[in-house]
Amino acid sequence: MELILAIGIGVLTTCGVWLLLRPRTFQVIVGLSLLSYAVNLFIFGMGRLRINAAPVLAGGPVETALYTDPVPQALVLTAIVIGFAMTALFLVVLLAARGLTGTDHVDGTGD
């Protein structure tokens, strides 16, 4: 499980960084999105992974060490919302840049 998650995060990050360094604005925004998915998974992973276990505590005294840490899951929710808002905002700027410069090159002077 850890291996699958680690490989997943690694692939997402690699693609994200590569796209981030591309010259077209659309590639940059997709790269940033992939990067933020990787980061969200990573934060999630920091709460430790546990499979085949109940997600919520049952009544009575429980051994908390058997459960994943819920705090990173709460953090991920915040990070997802913020990341989504920022992507939307960046998309608007990207369209404005496209309209003003007439090209989708990140420097505004394409080709």
Binding site: L32, V39, I82, V93, V106
Partner: protein
Amino acid sequence: MNFLRDHLVILPILLPMATGALLLLLNDRARRLKMLINTLSMLALLSLAVLLVQRAAGDGGGAAVPTATYALGNWPVPFGIVLVADRLAAVMVLLTSILGSCALIYSFARWHAAGPGFHSLFQFLLMGLNGAFLTGDLFNLFVFFEVLLAASYGLALHGSGGTRVKAGLHYIAVNLAASSLFLIGAALIYGVTGTLNMADLAARVPLVAAADRGMLEAGAGLLGVAFLVKAAMWPLGFWLPSTYAAVSAPVGALFAIMTKVGIYALLRFSMLAFGADAGASAGFGASFLLYAGMASIAFGTVGVLASKSPARLAGYCLLVSSGTLLAAVGFGSQGVTTGALFYLVSSTLAIGAFFLLVELFERVRIEGADVQTVTIEAFGEDDDEEEIEVEEISEAIPAALAVLSICFGICVLVVAGLPPLSGFIAKFALLSALLNPTGMGGAEPIAATTWALVALVIFSGFASLIALTRTGINTFWMTMSDHPAPVRVLEIAPVVLLLGLCVIMTIMAGPIMTYMEAASAQLHAPSGYHADVFAGPGGAPVERSAP
């Protein structure tokens, strides 16, 4: 007044948020009303900041008062979010509100009408800045960073135009990538220590097992990179000069404090987590910061000498100031931090004033430039109706050139660090602390890096002097225009105010330096911070198992 005393710490965040939300509801055409609300809120924020500084400094008796803390929702401390207003945070909030007030007054001359939503974005930026300075929680710091960045993206594009959008695009992309690093760093630190509360973190870092220490330091390093992008360290700061040269003048002045947020976060975090009490991790990254700061000073100095336009020059001055502060943080002695804090306040005020002045320069410089052409540039040519609405809100001042050149002269003295103004006092305090690590008369040898830093700081001041003098000559002695465009009282007043504060800082240097010394002592004693946070409201002792 009990309400005010209990909730003082959170009010500098709530007030701009409420004002910004209220301003969103009003139509953009109700400009006078918006100006009025914004000004009133700004005045209230200013008085709150003064109260906060008074509270942090104690009631004049000199006795140590516990740091004001505020537990959000009254959750017990290590679990809930806590706001901490120690001396440094209070003075940063005050600096923000002063700079904000001046930028706001300046924007009333015409910039506030150059696009929609200016007033709301302005207030949200202040909210993010105050929140970032006051928070004592790592993830909450991320949230406030995002709030201030989101507002700054809007403000950077304020006034529109190709250059701004192009520079804004780079600025947003760099900062979004930095935010990802911030999150990874914060998550790693949480994964190792099991806490996000900075005071709790300070107590837990020495207890981290040797096997996990690498993870912790990797997390701290990633977090540091995110802060360094904000602080515009070389080579992470290439976005700064072109972005800051493209934004409108009042926004540029307010942005002058945004690099200081990065410095503040670094200072706070490195002192708390990797201070002297941090066990095996003590001083992690300090020497890196020292060298990185020196590299930033060198790069900024070259940029200062090479830049042709005054706006880029202002951006590079900001880089030099950032570099100096980074190196001082890396040096890590209490005396140096004192000097650095004084330098931080003085240089931020002066560079803020410089950003405001730059636009006025452009106006006296360009032949035949008048308000009309500048307005067209600001509004876009197709928007004739808007133009008329920029009424003569304030009178043009006589002898504009003379007033401008005097303001510029004062600005040069502070930025370059020449006597007799506050820039000199700041650099003197910094350099004397560097050369006398154990107080006056210590006889131990001084390291080569210290000499290099001293030389760099002095040379960067000299280079700034050369570049600024050249700009002055080009602006005031080679002006081709016989009838320079009018400069309005509303535009020159905030510049005079900011520079006046630098003069006041020179006269009141004694008490201010005493305050900074206490702030620096507080920073270098993380155990005191820890004790105050846990003794404050919501800080009831809670049984916890080790991570």
